[in-house]
Each structure stands twice: as C-alpha cells, then as structure tokens.
Amino acid sequence: MRLKTAAVLAGAMALTLVGASPALACSDRDAGLKLKGSCGAEWVVSNPNDYQIPFTWKDNAGGHGSDVAPAQGSIQVHSTATVIEVDAIKPDQYNHRPWRGHGAIGVLHCKTPTPTPTKPTPTKKPPTTHPATPTPTKSTPTATPTTTPTSGSAPVAKPVTKTPTFTG
C-alpha cells in the first residue's frame, strides 16, 4: 500500500503521526485523515473535513474494523497495535468502495509494552433527592449516569437538501 507514512521514535510513550496519500491515480481529493497514537493507547483518527468520512482499519495485531470519522472531529479506533492502516471510503457512497490510496498509516516504536493508563473512577454518590422506594425484587438492568468520555460539543446539524414529508 503506497501510503505516506511517518514514524516518530519514542520510548514508552511514543507519539505518531500522520499521513495521507495522493500517491495513487485518483481524481478524488485527499480525504485528509490523520492518525495519532501512543504506546499502549488506542489510536485516534482525525477528520479535518466538514463532512464525516467512513473508513476501514486494520492493524498488525490482526485487528480490523470500520468506523466513521465525524466531521471536523476525531474518534478512537479500538486498537493499541503498533501499526495501523486506515482507508477512507467515499463519504457520499456507502457501498464501501475504497477511496483508494487516500488513507493513513501509523507506526509506533515502543521499547516496552506500556499498560493502558487507568484513571481511578471517582465514586459518585447516588442522588439523595429521590424518596425511598421499595427495593426491586427482580434484578433488572438499570441505567446509571453516563461515564462514557464525550467528544466535545455536538456540531450544528448539517442540513440534507430534500423536500420534507413530515406531517406538516
């Protein structure tokens, strides 16, 4: 795969990189996806465009998958491998036709495996404003306050040009 690559040597916390490639004959413009990673942490794919870009990824540890990079945002790829490739898919076509050569590759050089840093989760006290209720006799899954990391503020909605058919 002729993708522009770059690597940054580092120790236990290596930083990377980079790369998008106009190398192959292709009339489409570059997707411009960027990769950033550090040893032991998941890769992050950034998309500088004002539209989302679906992509596929595979790493040197046998991992692979597909995701969508949000417009002018970034997402984590569930891979902590040292080498990863992403291939953009045309954002206006969801037939998974590759945007050939327009992806990115990231390489890490880690001296020693670094465990994924873990942060202690602060213990949240349950709300005390609710009156006492009978203890459920049946174990049912219940939602708890969201702790999933957020990716910042949601962007303003991008309109789709189409005649509405709502109830009017």
Partner: protein
C-alpha cells in the same frame, strides 16, 4: 424561582412523567421499551437545562439496538445514515458498562433501547427545545437561558402534536424555501399518534417554517410545529442533531 429554572424543573417533571408512563400528550400509552427494555433508573434521566444533554452519533453503518445491555442478539437495526441521508443520532438517557440507554427514533413514541458505546461518538449540547402547546410557544434554551421564545403553530384537535420527550433526528433543507415547510424542517424522533401515514410516508413530527406565517400561534397543523421562517433559519444555524425536544401540554 427564576422562570428559566421553573421551566427547567417543569421539563424534568414532564420527563419524569414520560418515563413513568404518565406523560406526554397522548397520555394513554406507556412509553414503549424495545423488546422489554426496562425503564432507566431515575438517576439516569437527563435533566434538561441542568446539565448538557448527551447525544450519541453513530459511527457504524448499522446500529444494532438491543432490548437489554449484554443481549446476544439485537432487537432491531437502524441504518446510518438514516433514509433521508442524515447521520443517525440518539439522545442518551444513561449508561451501563459500555452500553448506552437511548431514546429511539421509532414508533411508538418513547421507545428506548440499548446500543453499544463503541458504535457511537458521544457529544454534548446545552441546547434544548420546549414546546408549550397550550400557549402555542416554542422556546429554545441553552442551559437555563432562553435563546429564542417565539409563537408556534401546533396540531389541530384531530391531529394533535403529541406530547413527550423527543429529539431532533434530522434537518432537511427544503429545495423550495417558500414552500409549505419553509426553508428548513427538523424531523423529530416522534410520530403522530392520530395518523397512520402522511402523504404516503411515516407520520413523523417535525418542526419547520411555513408559507402561512399568519397561522403561527394557532392549532392548525397535522401534528408538526410551525414557526416563522426567520426563526427556523436561526434554529438551523444553532442546534445540533440530537437536541432534546420537550413537548408539553
């Protein structure tokens, strides 16, 4: 209590009622849970205006919906983008061990389900919309601050605007900005409770502009909420997909 805070509290109350099966304009239906998904704990319900709402934006081509977190097979699948080409989003109600409890854009109104956190990107917004049907008003809040407070048209008695908690599922830009829907139209996650279909399509409730501005402030629509074109244009430049919409009596 400040007005905004009062309204925020009212929204919380309305939401609480919705989640306990007593709320919404329909008032007669227990909010559905997809495949028997239990209602979330009270602590998991979003508090409109008190804290930013969490929006889950799909990052996979097909979002699997599960009745319970950890289920082996999904109860339904929703495509991303949606049939109109908009990114699939959900309003997050809570979380459990890598699973998100979300409001679904499917009938019946109030349907909920669980999705895998890894299938989405979670973002936040301080914005939320309140529609007061009795007052024919639409108010856009940022937190507890009013950003817009304008008259709105709602559904007729025969085709009422259904109450409850919804969210903005899509934004359409009308090819003809002078048409019935004005320049922009939001599709909500809710559906008419009186119509089986509208023009051959699912009777999705919307918030949109109008070419009959004199009717704004009256009960005239088939269920949608109509505002002036300048208002919907302001909203279109401000609000993200997933913005909560609280339709009150």
């Amino acid at each position: 209590m400040p007005v905004a805070a009062t309204r925020g509290a009212a929204a919380v109350l309305a939401l609480g009622l919705l989640l306990t099966g007593c709320g919404g304009g329909s008032g007669k239906k227990t909010p559905a849970t997809t495949g028997g998904s239990p209602a979330p704990a009270a602590a998991a319900t979003p508090v409109l205006g008190k804290e930013p709402s969490k929006i889950a934006a799909a990052r996979v081509a097909q979002v699997q919906i599960y009745a319970n977190p950890g289920d082996g097979s999904p109860s339904m699948t929703l495509r991303n983008p949606n049939p109109d080409g908009a990114q699939r989003v959900f309003l997050v109600l809570g979380e459990q061990n890598g699973w998100l409890h979300v409001l679904l854009p499917v009938p019946p109104n109030g349907s909920k389900g669980w999705i895998k956190a890894g299938d989405v990107v979670v973002q936040t917004t301080p914005y939320w919309i309140q529609v007061q049907r009795s007052g024919h008003r639409l108010t856009v809040f940022s937190g507890t601050s009013k950003v817009l407070d304008v008259p709105a048209a709602i559904g007729t008695q025969d085709t009422p605007t259904p109450g409850g908690l919804y969210y903005i599922a899509e934004l359409l830009k009308a090819p003809n900005p002078r048409g019935d829907y004005g320049p922009y139209a939001y599709g909500l996650s809710g559906y008419s409770t009186s119509l089986k279909q509208f023009g051959g399509h699912d009777p999705i409730i919307g918030i949109h502009g109008t070419n009959q501005p004199k009717l704004v402030g009256t009960s005239v629509s088939h269920g949608c909420v109509r505002v002036r074109n300048d208002v919907i244009t302001k909203m279109a430049k401000m609000l993200p997909l997933g913005t909560p919409v609280d339709i009150q009596a």
